[in-house]
């Protein structure tokens, strides 16, 4: 999960993306957290996330699960919630509601630091900690190309395969599938629910002309 700070892409693309986590702390505020987390998820829905998963269900918003099923699953103490927004104003609305609710559960936001700073200042929120990405090190020659990593780094655990990204680009180019539907399929392996299908569809549109239509 830590990996959301390592998302790759252009500034313009990353500015459209904010990951928000709801995280009870083991031994500090686990007990009694479930109804509070459920309330916070109800508030998130009002702001319009483009993807979300509670750890109590592990099915993303495009898996056919209903909002009620997601909410009703949040009965386990310590349930964490991972979500992603594709507009600054939506994130701001979510944080406004969360701050007003004052449930006392830790909230993390991954995004362009300067933008998060601006939003926090506008809402009178005082951030506590920053987690900086100091990049990728080691045998980086083995990595997939940077433009493919713009897709794969949307999944922190690395289970959105670079080969699947290339296959989906091929399928879009050969008109076997649309950009959105292809992006929903790319989001499915990501069990944290922070793969952003809106940004993914934009990326497929942008990258498809660069790739030949051969087998992945």
């Amino acid at each position: 999960m830590t990996h959301s700070l390592h998302r790759e892409g252009s500034l313009e693309s990353l500015e459209k993306e904010y990951v928000l986590f709801i995280y009870p702390a083991r031994g500090f505020n686990y007990k009694g957290s479930a109804p509070k987390v459920r309330h916070l998820v109800e508030l998130l829905y009002q702001a319009g996330p483009v993807n979300m998963i509670p750890t109590s269900l592990r099915r993303n918003m495009y898996s056919g699960v209903t909002n009620e099923e997601i909410l009703d699953s949040i009965t386990v103490e310590g349930t964490r919630v991972y979500s992603v927004f594709n507009e600054r104003e939506k994130l701001k609305k979510a944080l406004t509601l969360i701050k007003a609710a004052d449930e006392g559960i830790s909230i993390m936001v991954s995004g362009i630091t300067d933008r998060v700073r601006d939003i926090a200042a506008e809402l009178g929120i005082t951030p506590h900690m920053v987690n900086l990405s100091l990049g990728i090190h080691g045998n980086t020659d083995r990595l997939p190309p940077a433009d493919i990593r713009e897709f794969t780094t949307m999944c922190g655990h690395g289970v959105v395969s670079p080969h699947l990204v290339k296959d989906m680009i091929r399928r879009v180019k050969t008109r076997k599938i649309g950009e959105w539907d292809g992006s929903v399929l790319l989001a499915e392996p990501c069990t944290c629910g922070i793969y952003n299908p809106c940004r993914s569809a934009e990326l497929i549109r942008e990258k498809a002309p660069l790739y030949a239509v051969d087998r992945w």
């Binding site: 362009i112 900086l132 090190h137 080691g138 289970v159 392996p189």
Partner: protein
Amino acid sequence: MIIHEEICVGCGRCQPYCPTAAIRYDGLKSVIDQDICYECSTCLRAAHCPVDAIAESPNVYEYPRALRRYFSDPSATHAATGIQGRGTEESKTNDVTLRVGPGEVGVAIEIGRPTLGMSIADIEKITRAIARAGVHKIEPHNPIHSMIANEETGDLKKEMLGERVLSAIIEINVKRDELRGILRTLREVAKEVDSVFCIDACTIVDPDLHIPEEVLESIKAEGFTWRPNAKVNMGLGRAWE
């Protein structure tokens, strides 16, 4: 993971789903290379085999192969920690736990990310380097901690060294004035491993999300840069237990 040969129809649909390209054709059927497979179960969970030929390996929970599952399948509850995930709550709940205190920097080494994974033998190169740098305390709630045979040397348990995992996170705390030394160590050990790792540095911020100059100067002094995007703990949590 395995593919039942007698059921597989050889459509190849599952192959691109594997993050490590362990699924290949053998004749007209898809097979999974057991040496390469991380047991992440992505193929089973997401590829939707039309004939249900994909199944869990019979030995997936046998030690030490089980480490592949615990570290590579995000939905698997880790036997060492009792929670899902490769790391801990780290910076995500620091407003409540204060695990990384004022004057400290939490450093996380995200092993094998993005996507490549890493052999445990390579992970040991990193834990040994960290130990040589004088850091002998890896976060005790992190599953990596349970793999350590000797904290002084950073040696991992020998029986694990033949395994590999899709991701793992080494978490340590250092004083701010020790950050340069650990970054230098990581820069050097990066030359020894056959895979990749990402480095995170988390620190309590000053008002207005101002990142302490001492931390930024240490990062710059060792030739590192930081990405424009970061993860921010918004400071809205509190303890009540």
